[in-house]
């Protein structure tokens, strides 16, 4: 990233990066948790066992809170295409506008029409419609993810476009644009990562209740479903999806792959650095510990394959913050490996029936829930830093895309506003999230909260 602090492109990038990173903390849980709700609602319908409905009631409260923050922090994202990236919108609006609009028409309408019904509507809708509402919300959130990833995939690997007579982009083939191979791989990788987040959160809450010896039947449910889904998703996020993603980068953005690996000089039998600090001035990795041949194998299939180094590309095509890109990628890989190991062991212990008595493992599972959020963020940083210096890879530079009429003063002003507002929002979310966890699922009544007595009066006692 250009470190010149008077550069307007820097501030627009910083604001977009900050608001997007923050926003995406919420949709990843929405997309992951949605399928847990669908599954439990379906089990409740099939078995009539009330514990599944209790689980749905408990998690919809957290889901609703999370969804609301996701909605309100998401709207600024769409508007920033116009406010801060006007020249980019002018240039590529004919292409990316299609998917942005489709996301609204096909995904957001579906999602938001039914989310209220899912959260507030159990009594109004009855069990069957309530189940359908859960399915609609889950589908809507994943479809919206696909459309936004098609948009991003176009920026990473533009396909299906043509340059119109006025020099701006238009769509040559909607089919090619929507079925961009990059989008499929990225979607699979990203959705698995969202499931990792969702399942880690479910597992952590189950572990917390088990450690506190509370809500035992509910916590068993969370631990069982959570660890199993977490194991499957952690494996899938690495292989085949992550592997395919890296191959995609290697084929279409070789300079990015070189930068991600801190590989300054090209050659065969390329290793993967486990540890090492990129030193751009000296063009080398300091203190490297490498697994020889691993990168050649991962990127191109044999240990002998030639992997390009940064020295083979002109310097102005290098990603502009190689250090951050390198660390993002390596930390993401490290975390992903830890996820697989942890969840494999936890699922094994659960299968042996020893999980609920293994105090240290429950502690680890409880404290592990922030890690997938970090890994998801690092993954996106890898994708977006790796795309630099291009806004649309090979077509359009980032420095050409920002709004020329917006002054630095305006951007810094709104950035400060977002920082303050999002800080308060974060505190509020954590506070209420913690409160709902502390309150826990209701196990006493079939109808649950909202009726006379029960929870509401108990809650009032705490405060009056």
């Amino acid at each position: 990233m250009n470190s010149n602090l008077s550069d307007p492109a820097f501030w627009s990038r910083f604001q977009f990066g900050f608001t997007l990173t923050y926003h995406y903390l919420f949709p990843q849980l929405t997309m992951g948790l949605a399928w847990f709700l669908v599954y439990w609602k379906w089990r409740a319908l099939r078995t009539g066992d009330e514990k599944y409905n209790q689980a749905v009631r408990f998690w919809t409260k957290i889901f609703g809170l999370n969804f609301a923050v996701g909605v309100v922090t998401g709207i600024p994202m769409e508007f920033q295409f116009g406010t801060n990236w006007a020249d980019f919108s002018r240039y590529a609006g004919g292409v990316i506008g299609q998917t942005l609009a489709m996301e609204g028409m096909f995904a957001f309408f579906l999602e938001s029409a039914f989310v209220g019904a899912l959260i507030w509507g159990e009594k109004r809708l009855g069990p069957r419609y309530h189940f359908l509402a859960a399915v609609a919300v889950a589908l809507g959130s994943w479809v919206s993810g696909y459309f936004i990833l098609v948009t991003n995939a176009f920026m990473q690997h533009p396909v299906g476009y043509r340059i119109e007579a006025d020099g701006l982009l238009g769509i040559a083939s909607l089919r090619a644009y929507l079925l961009n191979p990059w989008a499929w791989v990225q979607f699979a990788h990203n959705q698995m990562a969202a499931l990792v987040t969702g399942s880690f959160v479910v597992t952590a809450v189950g572990a917390f209740y088990t450690l506190r010896r509370l809500h035992s039947s509910q916590s068993q449910l969370y631990l069982r479903a959570g660890t199993l889904v977490a194991l499957m998703a952690s494996v899938l996020v690495a292989f085949p999806t992550g592997d395919q993603q890296a191959k995609m980068v290697g084929n279409h953005q070789p300079v990015t792959l070189a930068a991600m690996e801190g590989r300054f000089v090209g050659g065969p039998r390329a290793g993967v650095a486990v540890i090492g600090q990129p030193n751009i001035a000296a063009r080398r990795l300091d203190n490297p510990i490498e697994v020889p041949g691993a990168l050649s194998f991962l990127a191109y299939g044999t240990f002998q394959s030639y992997v390009n180094g940064l020295d083979e590309y002109p310097e102005d095509t290098w990603p502009d913050n190689i250090e951050l890109l390198y660390y993002s990628f390596h930390l993401m890989i490290t975390l992903g490996t830890i996820f697989v190991a942890l969840m494999a062991y936890a699922s094994f212990q659960n299968w042996r029936g020893r999980l609920k008595s293994s105090t240290w493992l429950l502690w680890v599972l409880m404290l592990a829930f922030p890690l997938p959020y970090i890994a998801n963020t690092l993954g996106w940083m890898t994708a977006e830093l790796g795309r630099q210096p291009w806004l649309i890879y090979g077509l359009f530079h980032t420095r050409d895309g920002y709004s020329k009429v917006v002054s630095n003063g305006d951007t810094i002003f709104t950035l400060m506003g977002f920082t303050g507002l999002y800080f308060v929002l974060g505190l509020l979310f954590l506070f209420l999230f913690g409160r709902e966890i502390g309150h826990g699922p209701d196990e006493e009544g079939v109808v649950g909260r909202g009726d006379e007595g029960g929870v509401s009066s108990r809650r009032e006692e705490q405060f009056v």
Binding site: A68, V71, G82, G97, S112, K123, V406
Partner: protein, 349 residues
């Protein structure tokens, strides 16, 4: 085709105003109409389950605007920079106060979020009103189709104007009063007991206030843009819009006086739709009028996407819209009738 897309995009924005306008209105009157915590929960329950469904029409509008009028999006959003961010922050505060207020059953907590709710709805109603005024009055567009606008300059309506001047301030006030009336009509339909009675009284008073304000705004608009009426009388859509306004006014008045709440609310919705549609038709084909030089104005034809992009959008947009209509019918049927705090809140509010 570009004219059709102009109609579609305006339609989405108008639907958004009619849907979310009721929430702004109910939100502004929240603390006046509902006096006890239970009454407040009643108002929130009338808005609660559907606010994100209403708000998403704004997102749908934004997305469609990028697809079919990318140059307008680029010019207008960058130009209205600060005002747009205020709207975004208002929407954040509105959504959050609605959502978190019910999580803790405590007087202090709920009182605070109720106040944030009222404040953010006021802010939104005023900003949207000022935005409508800006569309009518125009913005300081230069020859390249760019502008950058301060909040206020000298409060005059020509030359280097700001977001607020004497005209847009009055449209903002008009919007706030009219949306409050719309919200009160909605609450009359959805609630029972004292909240219902107070809403009914407020609805009558506020609609009575809308009439003289409307007259004032019409005269002001004529002063600000003397070229518009002469241009609009040749546009059949303006006449259609006016017809909708007249019929819906009659529906609204008869609904209010006969205590037919559904009829009044339908009238109130169509009155908003009719007014905005008339305005939208009157300014067509100019989408952004330049206060510096009329030849700098951006017309729909100049800001539209390429023909192939518009054709593509014409293929999938109707499908998306048909689906949205299905959801709309489902929701209207499921949420018909008065709200009941016990049934509609699941202990949330």
């Amino acid at each position: 085709m570009i004219a059709t897309w102009y109609v579609i995009v305006s339609f989405m924005l108008i639907v958004y105003v009619a849907l979310d306008g009721r929430n702004f209105g109910a939100g502004m009157l929240h603390r006046l109409i509902a006096r006890t915590p239970e009454e407040r929960r009643q108002v929130i329950a009338a808005i609660g389950p559907l606010w994100s469904w209403h708000e998403v029409w704004l997102v749908g509008f934004g997305g469609t605007l990028v697809a079919v009028f990318p140059h307008l999006m680029a010019s207008a959003f960058a130009g209205y920079y600060l005002a747009l961010f205020l709207i975004l922050w208002g929407l954040i505060l509105r959504g959050i106060s609605l959502e978190v207020g019910g999580h803790i059953n405590d007087r202090l907590w709920q009182g605070f979020w109720d106040s944030v709710f009222v404040f953010s709805n006021f802010l939104l109603a005023i900003l949207f009103g000022a935005a409508a005024g800006n569309l009518a009055r125009g913005v300081p567009l230069d020859a390249h189709g760019n502008f950058s606008m301060a909040f206020f300059t000298d409060f005059r309506v020509r030359g280097h104007v700001g977001l607020l001047d004497w005209y847009t301030v009055s449209t903002a006030v008009f919007a706030a009063v009219m949306l409050a009336a719309h919200g009160a009509t909605y609450l009359t339909l959805k609630t029972e007991g004292p909240v219902h009675d107070r809403s009914a009284r407020w609805a009558k008073c506020l609609w009575a206030a809308v009439a003289p304000l409307f007259l004032a705004i019409s005269i002001e608009s004529w002063v600000v843009r003397p070229d518009l009426p002469g241009h609009a009388i040749y546009n059949p859509f303006c006449w259609l819009g006016l017809l909708v306004v007249i019929i819906s006014t009659c529906t609204l008045i008869s609904g209010l006086s006969a205590r037919r709440e559904m009829r009044a609310f339908v009238g109130s919705n169509f009155l908003l739709v009719g007014l905005l549609a008339t305005g939208g038709a009157a300014i067509f084909p100019v989408m952004l009028y330049s206060t510096l030089a009329p030849e700098n104005s951006l017309t729909a034809y100049a800001v539209a996407s390429s023909r192939s992009a518009l054709l593509l959008a014409s293929v999938w947009w109707p499908v998306g819209f048909a689906l949205a209509t299905v959801y709309f019918v489902f929701i209207s049927r499921r949420y018909a009738g008065k709200v009941s705090v016990k049934r509609d809140t699941q202990g949330f509010y």
